[in-house]
Subunit: 563 residues, 2 copies
């Protein structure tokens, strides 16, 4: 039941590329991409650029030997990546040095090469003459290569100008064998084609297609119109994968200037999605198949497309993508050996009345044995009524559960509470209040307020809401029990001759504290599983704070003997 | 009601620092930090290191003029950061060049300086002699400086060896005026002190303290023990902020080797938290106060501490932090002009029976007017019974809502459905089924299955569950209505003389399609507000897929006239 406390290392993805001072492309885009997809990102820098959304203003090429030195630090049996992408490689000398080093490795990471030759803004980032070095020294080592149409031309020594999907596929089929090894993903972003043309072509040629552009939905088209958006374009962009077979990835055509670093992002996403799959398949050990699945390709393209579609306008030229679109705020970190109960701690830290509740004057007087019989009798009789609602709240939770384990756990607590209430009956009997008189007693306002608040949450909320609504009572009484035991040890409370000794021993006893432990473990485990979002955590904090406030009021009601 | 479709640009945070090929420190840690905290990260690189968790194997210093060139690209009225952190500055010449450039700016970003002199692994990253350049050329321009204890010594030209909290505070008080301007955050990580000592000291000296280390909680201590963790250390680490006043930030003492890049991460987090606050205060415009709030400092320290505490073991030496601890997977991206209904689209894309539902043979025959009267009569009578449950589900949703707007919206739909059912009564009357006969008709199994499924979700789930459970019926009928209208236009369906013309016109009519639009907008808006986590989205997808499957079965029941 206890959640995993030792975090699992994420897959490690390396980028070998240039640095973009503007942060939108190069190793910066790659590290943002790897992080967003849940990988650990590292980088070997081949060149620095002084760059912004308008263009590249300067390049500082890193000496090839220092590129290799960076690689050596990583592969020195320390931070060995399971996948790497290669981007801007700056010079033929760097390509040759890289090729020699990568060829010397006994176990190469999965390699994705984005043949970056021209920046989105039009700057030549690699001399065309370097294509020879790429083809001879690097491509034979690479697993996947991702040129766009102009880059495919450079690799082939031609200037292709395809105008139809047929042309693009013919280009891919011509280029692939020339690469001598890697799978080819030819990116069709430069040539949008009509959806109908793609549908017809696929049917005619019997080619497999993965659709990322959703089919037209009439109610959504109507909604777009009503909120004032133009009709969705009937055009799509097609990326062609040749990996033995041929597969088309058909995405929506997004009209935007936020495309700076698109190629970097896609290749980093491909390396990351490969690494994630490999790590799931065999726990990141060597021997993963060196073939990227179509699902990983689909995820990488989808990630990149959403990053383009949700990008805010930044800069005056081609703005960067929104790399963080697939992340949202996680309020409660994973449990760790340093903090095994992050959610419980968070709730307590955000309940301003917690201390006033667990160290209430009622509790202190009870521990010293100086609490008046009348106050205790009033409290215990009202607590009997409260427990009825408390049991019902658990039963309501059980009624909402969708698995037998939860039904059993909550039904068990409802039963436990019903039994616990018998202790209250006995206490009341010792004060001369019969069971009939106890049952006939009206609820004090605070009892109704608290009992029915917990029940309302149980009826209107989900299981997590229920577990949190009942938590303050559960762990607060445990805290009081354990604290009073410490107070006894410190001479600040007494057991000998204390009329409330049984109460004190019950709530510090193994039975009750065992329930507290199970309650904390159940809750922490459920939070790890359900990952409540920030607004949901906010609601849970409110529920816990409110029930803590009402717990404090409950002691006060006892002390004041108020109705 | 429509969610924001044009994303707001995040605050921009620049790092001016070295590159760590291992990805755990330097600009890589800074970019990971800025991204994790929701900022846009860019970087000006001062030096490249070949580095891993065991040490720094090589350094390539970037020429100072190229450092300035990178800065110029950013500040060329393109991607101007609102805050920047300065880390490893490599050489006195770079410091002087940076100082001159930053001094020349008419509007400087908020500057946090982490005086990086020695790496966690012990490598000297800046000659001690460069301290003079820092003090004369850079510190007067800086807003906040964050040395640890040894670095404070280098800045003062001494070798302090504080042993108590008093010593550390005395050190901070001596260093602060020598810096000539910036606020000082002296990091006490090198000297853990006892919690009790801090409590006593604060009380005695009347110093403000922000506690990040939670107070001891008895039930949590008990829980730690039960799951086999050692007792929590009574030691804390204290960071001292001098910014006019003095404030202590008291954090837990985490025993771990995952501390590579801690200083980088904290200073990047401070710059990010400042930028986030400034952007909220004045929409990122100039004129934000150049003073970091204590809440921003608290958030930055907390972020860094959690990154240390939740780090997986990576590498053989001092491993990197877990920069992504405060992010979790966001399945549904923000609505954008390119995709204003991401949640609705996602549900439909993941309901495998969607097409079989909206283009069911029942619907096609109805559109052509060839559907038998008996089939339609059976369907419409059962739909009357279904609508009762459908109305109740909305009422149950209203009963769970915690705001008047939602109560009103759901109660309104319940009312609408009750009215819609009168159309069914009239249809049945036209087939010779009286109201009494209709009411007396038993529910077919599919009617019970579907109606009570929706009701169960409404009773056991939360508002989002309710909205999704009723969605398939709402938007599916709209889709059928609009599709049949298109089919009529294409000659594939007929209105003239079609006995079901009224039905077809009702579901393509303004009244019903208006409800569809409101339903989509309400749902999309609620998803943006509640940000359902991945497990929650998974549950919502299941609900939508199940109700879509049951809708399809409902048409089939009509066609088969089955019970």
């Amino acid at each position: 039941m206890t959640p995993q406390l030792r975090p699992v290392a994420p897959p490690h993805v390396l980028t070998i590329a240039g640095s973009d001072s503007g942060g939108g492309a190069g190793i910066q885009a790659d590290i943002k991409t790897a992080s967003a997809l849940g990988c650990y990102g590292s980088s070997v820098i081949t060149a620095l650029t002084a760059q912004n959304t308008l263009g590249v203003q300067g390049v500082h090429v890193v000496p090839p030997e220092f590129v290799v030195e960076q690689l050596k630090s990583l592969f020195a049996d320390d931070l060995v990546p399971s996948a790497a992408k290669l981007g801007m490689l700056a010079s033929p000398e760097t390509i040759t040095a890289l090729g020699a080093y990568l060829a010397s490795l006994t176990s190469r990471p999965y390699l994705v090469l984005d043949p970056v030759m021209i920046s989105t803004s039009g700057h030549e980032l690699l001399a065309h003459s370097a294509a020879d070095a790429l083809l001879s020294d690097l491509l034979p080592l690479v697993d996947l290569v991702t040129p766009n149409i102009p880059e495919a031309g450079v690799l082939m020594g031609t200037r292709p100008s395809p105008t139809t999907l047929e042309d693009v596929i013919a280009l891919a089929r011509e280029l692939h064998p020339a690469l001598k090894g890697p799978a080819l993903l030819l990116k069709g972003g430069h040539l949008p084609v009509s959806r109908d043309a793609v549908v017809k072509f696929i049917e005619k040629e019997k080619i497999e297609a993965v659709w990322l552009a959703p089919p037209p939905i009439a109610v959504i088209a109507d909604y777009r119109e009503v909120i004032g958006l133009p009709e969705e374009k009937p055009d799509v962009v097609v990326d062609v994968l040749l990996d033995g077979g041929i597969t088309l990835f058909v995405g929506p055509c997004v009209d935007t200037s936020s495309t700076h670093g698109t190629g970097c992002t896609l290749s980093a996403a491909l390396a990351s999605c490969y690494a994630l799959e490999a790590s799931m398949a065999n726990g990141d050990k060597a021997g993963a198949p060196r073939r990227i699945s179509h699902d990983a390709v689909r995820r990488a393209i989808k990630y990149t497309q959403t990053a383009i579609a949700t990008a805010p306008k930044l800069g005056r030229g081609h703005g960067p993508l929104n790399h963080g679109h697939c992340a949202m705020q996680r309020v409660i970190p994973a449990p760790s050996i340093h903090d095994p109960t992050p959610f419980t701690s968070y709730l307590i830290a955000n309940a301003s009345e917690w201390d006033a509740y667990v160290k209430h004057p009622f509790v202190i007087a009870l521990g010293k044995g100086t609490l008046s019989h009348e106050a205790f009798a009033h409290y215990i009789a009202q607590d009997y009524h409260y427990l009825r609602h408390y049991a019902r709240a658990h039963a309501a939770g059980a009624a909402k559960a969708d698995d037998m384990a939860t039904i059993r756990a909550l039904a068990d607590i409802a039963l436990h509470v019903a039994k616990e209430s018998e202790m209250h009956v006995e206490f009341c009997a010792s004060f001369g209040i019969t069971r009939a008189a106890l049952e006939a007693l009206p609820e004090a306002a605070t009892t109704s307020a608290y009992g029915r608040y917990v029940l309302d949450v149980a009826l209107s909320g989900d299981i997590l809401d229920v577990l949190v609504a009942v938590l303050s009572c559960l762990i607060g009484y445990g805290e009081v029990g354990l604290w009073l035991r410490k107070q006894v040890a410190a001479g600040e409370a007494v057991l000998e001759g204390n009329p409330y000794r049984r109460w004190m021993e019950d709530y510090a006893g193994d039975d009750f504290i065992g329930a507290v432990r199970r309650g904390i473990a159940t809750l922490e485990e459920r939070v790890v599983r359900e990952m409540p979002s920030a607004p949901k955590v906010e609601r849970l904090v409110q529920i816990f704070a409110e029930s803590t406030r009402l717990e404090k009021a409950f002691w006060q009601m006892g002390l004041d003997q108020s109705w």
